[in-house]
């Protein structure tokens, strides 16, 4: 019998990768700094030693090249896991992602499968500047042909990673860096850590998790902002006796629109929090999916807390002003509730 273990998101995801690699010889990892370094954010920590350089394959700094290679390997029946340390780098490989990996299945009318996982580190909040702090969730989710996974806690990180590796679809696994709980980013966010079973398990894509049940207001967050919502909900509860329901979609593609709608139907109020640039993004999509189904379920205008369409400044006070925070979520919630 194994004892209960509380893991970080990064450790839990890595455990799934390890299990799949031990049990399926078609699974391998490639990317920058994966072999000796274990991935810039520890996603492949120790895997190099365990599986050797042929299955934990270091690549040159050639993103369009190695994502193209991974696509081909997947087309040939392998299950590559590609590590791209920063989502900000998609600028140099967006073609391989959206025109190769995400298109072959549909264009071939289902003849060609691309069972590949693209792992990337996203998000800011630690003064890493505008080119190493973006979320870019909408830029990934907007393009058809990929699944986009966004775990907010360790339990989901493991289950979703098992699902991603076993999926016959191209899966983008977006790991928020502050949520990952890696050493270099300080103390892990408490609510991101969870008890993780030893044995493998899967979590289906497109099924939201109700993080907290409530009756007065629905908050929808994604990855890092889930935790900001939790903090905000606790404060609203203790300071104003407001009961908040928090929905974590866990995958933004496919998006569990039903779960979001059902919650808003119950509470009548919707706030969406996202770290990405606000316009044309996740917050608008979530709100629209409720409004276009039945606007009458809303008792007041919905609210959103996201990056107000600004490049992310380096300096702490400015970065904290631009990125979403629990404070902003509380503030917006109070406006909606007339407090």
């Amino acid at each position: 019998m194994s004892s209960e273990r509380t893991l970080t998101v990064a450790r839990a995801g890595r455990e799934a990768v390890m299990w799949e690699m031990q049990n399926d010889s078609s699974v391998f990892m490639l990317g920058e700094d994966v072999f000796a370094f274990g991935g810039v954010f520890g996603t492949a920590d120790g895997l190099g030693e365990m599986f050797g350089p042929d299955r934990i394959l270091d690549t040159p700094i050639s993103e369009t090249g190695f994502i193209g290679l991974a696509t081909g390997a997947a087309m040939a029946g392998m299950r590559p896991i590609v590590e791209l340390a920063f989502v900000d780098f998609i600028g140099v490989c967006y073609n391989a992602i959206v025109n190769l990996a995400a298109k072959h299945y549909y264009l071939s009318n289902g003849q060609v499968k691309v069972p590949m996982v693209l792992m990337l580190g996203s998000g800011g909040g630690y003064s890493n500047g505008a080119q190493h702090s973006q979320s870019l969730l909408a830029s990934l989710a907007h393009m058809p042909g990929s699944v986009v996974v966004t775990p907010s806690n360790a339990y989901d990180a493991k289950g979703l990673m098992h699902s991603a590796i076993r999926s016959d679809d191209f899966v983008i696994y977006s790991g928020q860096k502050k949520v990952a709980g890696v050493g270099m980013l300080g103390t892990p966010i408490k609510t991101s850590m969870s008890v993780v079973p030893d044995e493998p398990y899967t979590i289906p894509f497109g099924v939201a998790n109700v993080i907290r049940e409530g009756t007065d207001l629905t908050m929808v967050g994604v990855s890092w902002t889930v935790h900001q919502c939790i903090e905000a909900a606790e404060r609203l509860q203790s300071e104003h006796n407001i009961s908040v329901e928090i929905i974590d979609p866990r995958t933004v593609v496919p998006l569990d629109r039903d779960a979001i709608f059902d919650s808003v139907k119950k509470t009548g109020k919707l706030l969406v929090a996202d770290e990405d640039y606000q316009s044309f993004g996740f917050t608008g999509e979530v709100i629209t999916s409720v409004v276009e189904r039945d606007p009458s379920v809303l008792t007041c205008a919905p609210a959103r807390v996201a990056n107000p369409d600004l490049n992310i400044p380096y300096s702490r006070p400015m970065e904290l002003r631009v990125l979403p925070t629990a404070d902003r979520i509380v503030e917006e919630s109070k406006k909606m509730l007339g407090l």
Binding site: D54, G68, L69, G72, A76, L100, S108, G206
Partner: protein, 330 residues
């Protein structure tokens, strides 16, 4: 390794087959787009990049590849698809956006896929290289037979993907061949204006791979050069760049008047259908009669394929919602 008489006849046959196909496509393409040219009109809508003149690049290389091998093609895929042995009916139907096409109309001229032929395309310049090299990597990792070949134009060698993928093909010693069809033009920009070196095959030195250049679109020399590259790939000696001087007879795409190509260059362009036929007749591999027989045989197969396409139904509009994901409901 020189091609045998039978192999040369077969290559001629393939060149003719591809040409007959492109000729019929060309005819149909313009038949219903006039008097005011409209890309959206007609039984074959959209852009068409025909293979007129470049057929030997496929006909001379494909005989060395088996169905274990993988091919990625580019925006100009007809000669590759035909010489690979794809079904003409399904190919014609795909160009017409019909339900009976290889991708049931989802792909079109620049996106032909056939899993049984391990054949796929990317219309984005040089981006077919990564997937081909990736298949080579997968085969190598699993200890499986099978090499991978990508086809592209000489202008694609100026893409970042070319550098990235060739570099990795060198590092990992991949059983991969990058075939460059040097037709001297990247749309309207000449090779000379695009790169300061004469031959992209020389770039092989910078990746630690093998490079070879074949002059004058000669099908026999292409066959021989490809034999060397394939032998290297199959025997674990790694990747190659095979560049072939060829001729783009009908411009970048149908409708391109090639006003930017100097007159003397146009006059000097050689037509491989004529050249190779004459060569084989002179060398007594073929007679006029036998050559005519090949032409009429291929012509009738192409005609039947075109007719198959014309007679085929369009997909139901709602078929657009099929095969979006392999396992997920969107």
């Amino acid at each position: 390794m020189k091609p045998t008489a039978d192999q040369r006849k077969a290559m001629y046959s393939q060149i003719v087959r591809s040409r007959e196909f492109d000729d019929r496509v060309l005819e149909l393409y313009f038949a219903d787009k006039m008097p005011v040219f409209d890309l959206a009109k007609g039984v074959i809508p959209g852009e068409i990049h025909s293979s007129h003149g470049q057929e030997p690049c496929a006909a001379g290389t494909m005989p060395h590849l088996s169905l274990e091998d993988t091919i990625t093609s580019n925006h100009r895929p007809h000669h590759h698809a035909i010489c690979r042995g794809l079904d003409l009916n399904k190919l014609a139907a795909e160009l017409m956006g019909k339900k009976t096409g290889y991708c049931a109309g989802k792909g079109g001229h620049m996106h032909i896929y056939s899993v049984e032929h391990k054949f796929s395309c990317s219309g984005i310049i040089a981006e077919g290289m990564g997937p081909a090299a990736g298949v080579a990597l997968a085969n190598k990792m699993r200890g499986q037979a099978g090499i991978a070949v990508s086809y592209m134009g000489e202008a694609a060698a100026n893409q970042g993907a070319f550098h990235e993928v060739m570099n990795m093909a060198g590092i990992y010693k991949l059983p991969y061949i990058c075939i460059i069809e040097d037709n001297n033009w990247g749309v309207s920009v000449s090779k000379k204006a695009s790169t300061a070196i004469e031959r992209n095959s020389e770039r092989a030195a910078s990746y630690g791979v093998y490079g070879e250049y074949v002059e004058d679109n000669d099908c026999d020399l292409i066959f021989e050069a490809m034999a060397r590259c394939v032998e290297r790939a199959r025997s674990g000696q790694g990747a190659s760049i095979l560049e072939i001087q060829t001729y783009r007879l009908k411009g970048h795409m149908h409708g391109d008047q090639m006003a930017y190509v100097p007159q003397e260059e146009v006059a000097a362009m050689k037509d491989c259908v004529v050249e190779y036929r004459n060569k084989l007749i002179t060398e007594e591999v073929l007679t006029e009669e036998k050559a005519d027989e090949i032409v009429s045989q291929q012509k009738s197969e192409v005609d039947a394929a075109i007719q198959f396409g014309l007679d085929s139904p369009y997909p139901d509009p709602d078929d657009a919602f099929q095969n979006i994901y392999a396992g997920v409901s969107p």
